[in-house]
Amino acid sequence: MPTKPDDLDVHHAHLESDATPLDDRPVVLDVRDLRVHFALRGGFFDRLLGRSSGSVKAVDGVSFTLRKGEVLGLVGESGSGKTTTARALLGLAPITGGTVRFDAGPEFGGAIELTGLREPQFRAVRQAIQLVFQDPHASLNPAMDLATAVAHPLKIHHITKDRVEIDRRVRAAFERVGLAPVDQYLHKYPADLSGGQKQRAVLARAIMLNPALLVADEPVSMLDMSVRAKILQLMLDLKRDLGLTYLYVTHDLATAKFFCDTIAIMYLGRIVEIGPAAQIYADPKHPYTRSLLAAIPEPDPRRAVPRNLPRGEVPDAARPPLGCSFHPRCPAAFAPCGWEARDVNALLEQRWTAVEEGEYERERAVVGDPVELEAGATALLPDIHAGSGAAAALLDDIKSADPNEPFWRGVRSVEPEPGGVRLDFNEPVDPALRDIGSVRVACHLHDPRFAALAAPVETP
């Protein structure tokens, strides 16, 4: 499929200058409803009985378009599925659903569909898509000197066997990434280099085959602050000179601001907000995006530590929350966000973290240790002294202590039951991406159907 790539030192004749509006440029990558689900390996008996133990939806319906020369930032915390999305594009994670159309341009033979490609077919695609890893030290073979490592793509893809030609190209790539004087670096081993130099070598290896798309997975987050800017600048230069298109995977909205044309915020396998970088930074719509922006440490001592931040951490993707996955942490969550039985546990734990030891013991005596409540829109809170109404009283106590707790917005009714209290929650609604101006947001706060329910809440 691919022909021999151009020499590195000859600039790509990229027709699309940066002046061309993004929407008019050819599409390099079109991802529609991408799914990467991993089957869970159950216990011994599950496997013996052939029972399925479910699956982890690492990526669950992700769509985006990447045009030539564009930089798309895929931003999220660990467990958001951003790295899995990146790996799926190279066939390093299995694509279990959706379509991925990759068009590297005429010199690579036109558009191809990546879904359903087998490993040998993917090997050819990996000439046109290159991957840069987070840890430059670990992504270079410790037993290979730099010249061999950088030249290796040429050998792998049988581009040339001519030693003089290989040497010329390696030198050109070293020069381009700033590993100069070249002779000083050719025969060094990764262990001899600093982090920034190693990442330069990784970039040299990545541009060896003149790829169309470069997937960069946190390329600067392991580097020192003073080196990050250098590597980002180098990547911008490479993009300009070689006509590259970037998928920039990161957890850091500060570097993404500098680097990306488009930002996609991911949470638990889905995109929750996507749009032009300028809009996202100027007016973030999703509470998660706002929190991420608020959490970035600023070198400004007048700023206090941000307080009103989401509690807890990214939940287990094997058992995602109902409705909006972010609702248990969301400071602005309200009725339709998918409140459920498991949130009662979180509420109790939060309560017991705050109260005194004696009160905790007393209250635990009423409802017992939180058991793993099943996912569902109804919860039965047990009452050890059945019929005493102590559990209901405890719930009232918790509510009066913090009436603004978003949890209560999701509770439809609290009914006494034999043996405890039954909590009914509002029907969970899965938020879908909706157009809000030039961005797309998956949040009920921006859904006119729920506008009446949404209480004005302060978010960071």
Binding site: A180, G195, V227, A229, D252, Y281, I296, P297, E298
Partner: protein, 341 residues
């Protein structure tokens, strides 16, 4: 002003390699007062972790230490390892970067606490141990219901909270936190930082927070010490240092930090020096945009800048020590890009 809890004077920590001694810490002095948080910032390889561990007496074999570390009128340099172990934990604590690897996967959280408390306060009863552990955990935001869980049942942020609780349960007077949030996500990092920022209120503990991120220092620390190539080049009130940096390195480091308010990419040319053979004079002179003739020849002398911070830079004098013609700009050969990081 409160008396210093830890007082470090002219501390040197060198360790051996095949290529010769690495001058990881080379003449460092600072104080940390009671209830104060001092941020120690620098790039990787500047010796900041070695300094943090050196204070606690945790150093690899073959390293050499001299100078003075006084902890509440006790000298810690030269103390026997066995005596140091007593002091560590009970009075001096350490919080590591990687919480996953520091908890024994086969021990419940309750057992971790019991072990720590029993080792240092053998007179405590089981009930007291539990009460104190749960109380400390609660203040770190860990629910008491999780007290008997195993480490793998917690998320990364929770494990770091547990590590902090383990370091604080003995009420140490001084804690070194070495990049405590580097392995964590942004939101979790912010949670941990707010816990660290509240340490003073909750525990009356002094903290040395080691980090490479100036943003973290700005949010969590009252004072900041900037370290470059084994030496502290500037130290002072965080607000003062950030708003009016005296040392060119501090200034350049601040400018090259990428944050939301960054408007242009900026970086310091070159890379940090090899600590086996650091440059003569001021170690920063080969990369310094304001370097003068004197900087390459004489070690800078520490002075107190007009704005109050301590700074080691010839730009701030003392003028009487600068030889004639020393203030002329330093003529440098073009930086080979080989030296770029």
């Amino acid at each position: 002003m409160a008396a210093p809890v830890i007082s470090v004077r002219d501390l040197r920590v060198w360790y051996g390699t095949e290529r010769g001694p690495v001058r990881a810490v080379d003449g460092v002095s600072f104080d940390v007062r009671a209830g104060e948080t001092l941020g120690l910032v620098g790039e990787s390889g500047c010796g900041k972790s070695t300094l943090g561990r050196g204070i606690l007496g945790l150093l690899p074999t073959g390293s050499a230490v001299d100078g003075s570390v006084r902890f509440r009128d006790r000298e810690l340099v030269g103390v026997k390892q066995s005596d140091m172990r007593e002091t560590r934990g009970a009075e001096l604590g350490l919080i590591f970067q990687e919480p996953m690897t520091r908890l024994d996967p086969l021990m419940r959280i309750s057992e971790h606490f019991a072990e720590t408390l029993r080792a240092h306060e053998p007179e405590l009863s089981s009930a007291e141990i539990d009460a104190r552990s749960i109380d400390t955990l609660r203040r770190m935001g860990i629910p008491p219901t999780r007290f008997r869980h195993y480490p793998h049942e917690f998320s990364g942020g929770m494990r770091q909270r547990i590590m902090i609780a383990l370091a604080l349960v003995l009420n140490p007077a001084f804690v070194v936190a070495d990049e405590p949030t580097t392995a964590l996500d942004v939101l979790v990092e912010a949670q941990i930082l707010s816990i660290l920022a509240d340490l003073k209120r909750n525990f009356d503990t002094s903290l040395l927070l080691i980090t490479h991120n100036l943003g973290i220092v700005a949010e969590a620390c009252e004072r900041v010490a900037v370290m470059y190539a084994g030496r502290i080049v500037e130290e002072g009130d965080a607000r003062q240092v950030f708003s009016d940096p005296s040392h060119p390195y501090t200034r350049e480091l601040l400018r090259s930090t990428i944050s939301l308010s960054t408007t242009a990419l900026h970086y310091i040319p070159g890379s940090p020096p090899d600590l086996v053979d650091p440059p003569s004079g001021c170690h920063f002179h080969p990369r310094c945009p304001s370097a003068m003739q004197v900087c390459s020849r004489l070690d800078p002398v520490e002075v107190r800048a007009a704005s109050g911070q301590r700074v080691s830079c010839w730009l701030h004098g003392p003028d009487e020590l600068i030889p004639p013609g020393g203030t002329a700009p330093l003529q440098r050969q073009e930086l080979a890009s080989a030296d770029e990081a």
